[in-house]
């Protein structure tokens, strides 16, 4: 007997489970902002660092402050790994990805499940991830197609869609560079979303795309 729940599905459920706890956490003891800063600046001893991180990652309020302080810290220290992009590689492989986007039409359910099937992984020649669509405004009734450029050495791709509050509303794993189909019910008209793609490479590296935003037009 093996538990084959995918990482993407676990993430979705974890977001739902920790979100439901937010009310209870509001009355719990939080980590101080100073300790969260010490965590992002890596100045805590390891045991305290782990304990602090454990709370922060389980607490929506502390996590928001962690993200804020970490963004400022990373911007100041310029420590954030940059995602490399190589548009010329995409130009050579564009026909392949377009063919894939035409060939693949799956429903919402198929999106939700892991697509760890036997299909070949779409691979390009650069080490970064460049997302292409959707961007800007999307018609409410139209199917939603997420597409990005192939990455060399990719074992699979993880797609995440976040709402304006930064909460995960949809995720998918795929070996393709396109996820398309009916719009999930968690992506509603009149709201703005950001999405990105993480490539999981054979060597364990996980380059990510820059986030891309889109808005589903009100019906």
């Amino acid at each position: 007997m093996t538990n084959n729940m995918s990482d993407a599905r676990l993430r979705q459920l974890y977001a739902l489970g920790t979100g439901a706890r937010a009310g209870a956490a509001a009355t719990a003891t939080h980590v101080s902002p100073e300790d969260i800063l010490a965590l992002v600046q890596r100045s805590l001893p390891e045991a305290q660092r782990l304990a602090t991180l454990d709370h922060v990652m389980a607490c929506a309020e502390c996590r928001r402050e962690f993200d804020l302080l970490r963004a400022v810290e990373a911007a100041g220290g310029e420590r954030t790994p940059q995602v490399r992009q190589l548009p010329s590689a995409w130009r050579r492989l564009a026909p392949l990805a377009i063919a894939a986007s035409l060939a693949l039409v799956v429903g919402t359910e198929a999106w939700r499940r892991s697509t760890a099937d036997q299909a070949p992984v779409m691979r390009g020649e650069s080490a970064g991830v460049t997302v292409t669509s959707p961007a800007g405004e999307v018609a409410a009734g139209a199917p939603l197609t997420f597409a990005w450029h192939p990455v060399p050495g990719a074992r699979r791709y993880d797609l995440e869609v976040l709402n304006a509050d930064g909460n995960l509303v949809f995720s998918a794993e795929t070996r393709d560079t396109v996820v398309t189909g009916a719009r999930p019910e968690t992506i509603v008209p009149g709201a703005e979303y950001r999405w990105w793609v993480r490539a999981v490479l054979e060597d364990g590296a996980q380059p990510r795309s820059e986030p891309r935003s889109f808005r589903v037009l009100a019906q």
Partner: protein, 184 residues
């Protein structure tokens, strides 16, 4: 706007704009809302205005000075939020907000998904302490290299603890009858 004030404003904007751009780029990657970034950068502007008397001083503010100002501003914003939250919870005991990812499907599916999600959250709580924060961070969507960087661990150590942690999580979920299937 008087000329001197205009020059001051231009210098300030120019100094802050570069850093704000960096924070925004990084912030998006960390799922930070634009409102949070705007709040910090507005606070940084005010502090630079107060601390630097002239446009010359503002325009020559080093990146590290702006960075230190931004860290201090973000810390103060976090403290103020805590204080506001404490006041609110004192006055309204049962007004806690709940953020829930909506479950697709009808009420029955939503209820089932909520129960599974509760089981996942509970199973994560039971993971061995040394692995649990890594698993939490990974499930929250942070990439492995950022987890390794934050904890000061090697890629191999992070990968090892994460894989063990996820395996433990799946085993605990199986014990709870969640997400397993019989192999043929």
């Amino acid at each position: 706007m008087p000329q001197a004030s205009h020059e001051l404003s231009t210098a300030l904007e120019s100094t802050v704009a570069n850093f704000a751009g960096m924070v925004r780029r990084v912030g998006w990657r960390y799922r930070l809302s634009d409102a949070d970034v705007d709040e910090v950068m507005q606070e940084v502007r005010i502090r630079l205005w107060r601390a630097r008397a002239s446009s010359e001083q503002i325009s020559s503010s080093s990146a590290s000075y702006v960075y230190r100002t931004a860290v201090s501003a973000a810390l103060d914003i976090a403290r103020r939020r805590r204080a506001r939250k404490a006041e609110l919870s004192d006055s309204i005991d049962d007004d806690a907000t709940t953020t829930v990812v909506a479950a697709p499907g009808g009420p029955a599916e939503e209820l089932e998904q909520s129960e599974v999600a509760r089981q996942v959250a509970a199973a994560v709580d039971e993971i061995v302490e040394s692995r649990r924060p890594v698993v939490r961070m990974y499930l929250a969507g942070y990439p492995r290299e950022e987890i390794a960087e934050l904890l000061g661990w090697s890629e191999a150590k992070t990968r090892n603890l994460l894989y063990r942690g996820l395996a433990e999580l799946r085993a605990r979920l199986t014990e709870r009858g969640v997400g397993w299937q019989t192999t043929e």
